[in-house]
């Protein structure tokens, strides 16, 4: 068997990378992808350390919810495209002091 700890280390690495990416990418779509990636990493930990089937069902719930917020993200992305006319996050700075 592959030890469960390797899955956890792998998931945490993915999570950290995705977090870094969410914070530093200029392209708003890449930020969305990174956020989804963070959710997948978290759900991987759930599956790796599952003792009963409840945790795996919880992962399904997480995927559904993240699908929902993807819809919202795409809506915001469309609005941003209309407003800023580009995908770079640098363009939205209305609330800067």
């Amino acid at each position: 068997m592959i030890p469960a700890s390797w899955f956890v280390i792998f998931a945490m690495t993915v999570f950290a990378t995705a977090a870094y990416g969410a914070l530093t990418r200029k392209n708003i779509l890449l930020v969305f992808f990174c956020v989804e990636s963070m959710v997948m990493a978290a759900s991987l930990i759930f599956i790796a350390l599952a003792k009963t089937a409840e945790s795996q069902i919880f992962v399904l719930f997480a995927w559904v919810i993240s699908a929902g917020d993807t819809i919202l993200a795409l809506a915001i992305f469309l609005y941003m495209m209309k407003k800023a006319g580009g995908v770079e996050l640098d363009k939205i700075k209305n609330l800067k002091w």
Binding site: A22, L23, V31, L89, K93, N94, L95, K96, W97
Partner: protein, 608 residues
Amino acid sequence: MTAYLAPLPLFIGFFAIILGKKEHAAKVAIASAFIALIVSLSGVFLRTEVSQEWFMTGPLGFEFGFQLDELSMFMLPLVAFITTLVFIYSTEYLAEKEDLKRYYACMSLFALSMMLIILSNNLLMMFFAWELVGLSSYLLIGFWYEKKSASKAMRKAFTIITIGDIAMFAGMAILLGTFGTLNFEAINGARTPAALGAFLLLIGAFSKSAQFPLHVWLPDAMEGPTPVSALLHSATMVKAGIYLMARIYPLLETSGLLPILAWVGMISILLSATLALAENDVKRILAYSSISHLGFMTFGLGIGAYHASLFHMFNHSFFKAMLFLVAGMLIHQSHSQEIQKIFFGDKKLALVALVGVLALSGVPPFNGFWSKDQIIEAAAHNHVSPIFYPLVLGATFLSALYIFRWFLVPYKNSGHAHFGNRMFLPVALLSIFVLTTGFLMNPFYEWFEGEAEFHIAGAIPSGAMILAAFVLAYAVFWKGAIKSDAFINNPLGRFVHKALVNRYWFDVLYEKIFTTIVIAFSKMMHTFDIVFIDGLVNGAGKAGLLLGKISGLADAYVVDGAVNGIGDVLKMWGEMFKRLVTGFVQTYMAWVVGGILLLIFFLRYVTI
């Protein structure tokens, strides 16, 4: 028995005159004076004392009491009688257009306060009445106050009377301390000397009776109407001082102040008798004569002739009042006041004037002779000084001389007499009294005679003086033997004349002293005002200004500083924290991530 109610009709009359109409003023005044006369006559030959406690302060009690003894029971009807006659005379003397209400009201006030002086049995009550009398005199002297000379005279009189009042009040306080009471019988009976207190009272008496050196107000008091002069300044008010001296006579005797009385009296006699010779105003001559005769009374009291002086006080009122009323009639018909210009014009008038003149100079059987001669005789064997007898004889000579001059100079002038019965009848009535009151000193009633026995022989030297004076007066004033130029050409005569005309410069001296004091005092007050009062006010202003400046500085630096400081601090913090708001979503996300990491750290590794 009820003679002490005599002031009451005058008191009621006073208010009735003030509140009533002008036409009724004279009638009310005459009626009240007459009722007072009847009431006061009921007290003759009776002795009584009524006293009512007034108020107490600690051990000292002040009473409101009346005393009737020989002294007061003769003066009371005298005052009422002369007041009535003067009122009747005034109805013709004063024209309708004068302010009659004020006149009769003041005269009634005077009469009732004079009666209160006579009736009081203690010094405090007498002092109140004394002040009232001084007030009425002031008001009546300045009756025609629009005239500058009259207003000056009224102020002069009041000033001197006030000096006397202050002295009298101080004397009263000292006597109260010495005796514990102000009742006359108690003070006189105590037989303890109280020289200072009694002397201060004497100053008050001298101011009222116009004795040296407080005599200067009486000649100027002639600015008032003639009936005022007849009532106040000859017959009654000026007697108040003599009356006071008589009331406290035992005290003066025990305190040894009688020689002062004798000297002051003698100086007053000679001073005023000489001044009367240089005076040309008919009323002023009589004023000086009053001072002179009051000096006789003072002198008589001083050498111990108590009863003779009081008898002279009684007689003098009659003939002096009569002479003043005659002078009023002369002024009324001649429209002038100088003896060179006035005239008698009528044998009746000249006759009554002659009666007064002879009484004044002391010719028997007129009343002046009986009392004046007793004083002269007492001077012959007095214990104070041997010089008094020749001096008093000289005084007799001078007084006869000036009064004969008073009569002879106008007698030469001719004119048309013009007077009515209401002026003449009071005068005639008084002349009858002048003829008869001398005989109050008779073997049947001895109070006026007193200790001195009456001798015909004592009358010879004074009679000689009077005769000599008459001869001289006749020669100079009737026949014109010595012309007045003789005086003017002689340097000594010029000096004498100048001294007499300037009234021995007493007036000038007093005025100078008075004005110097007043000016010095006002200068002192001015300095006080500028330095102290203004200093205080300005200082207060400066302090307020300083306070305002400090307040402003506090406001600018402290208050504004605090407020601005808070604002600046907040601004600084705002500048610091605004950098958090980057508008960049990823920074917010970074903060969230960082916060969660911190939270995990605390929950996992920090034990609570």
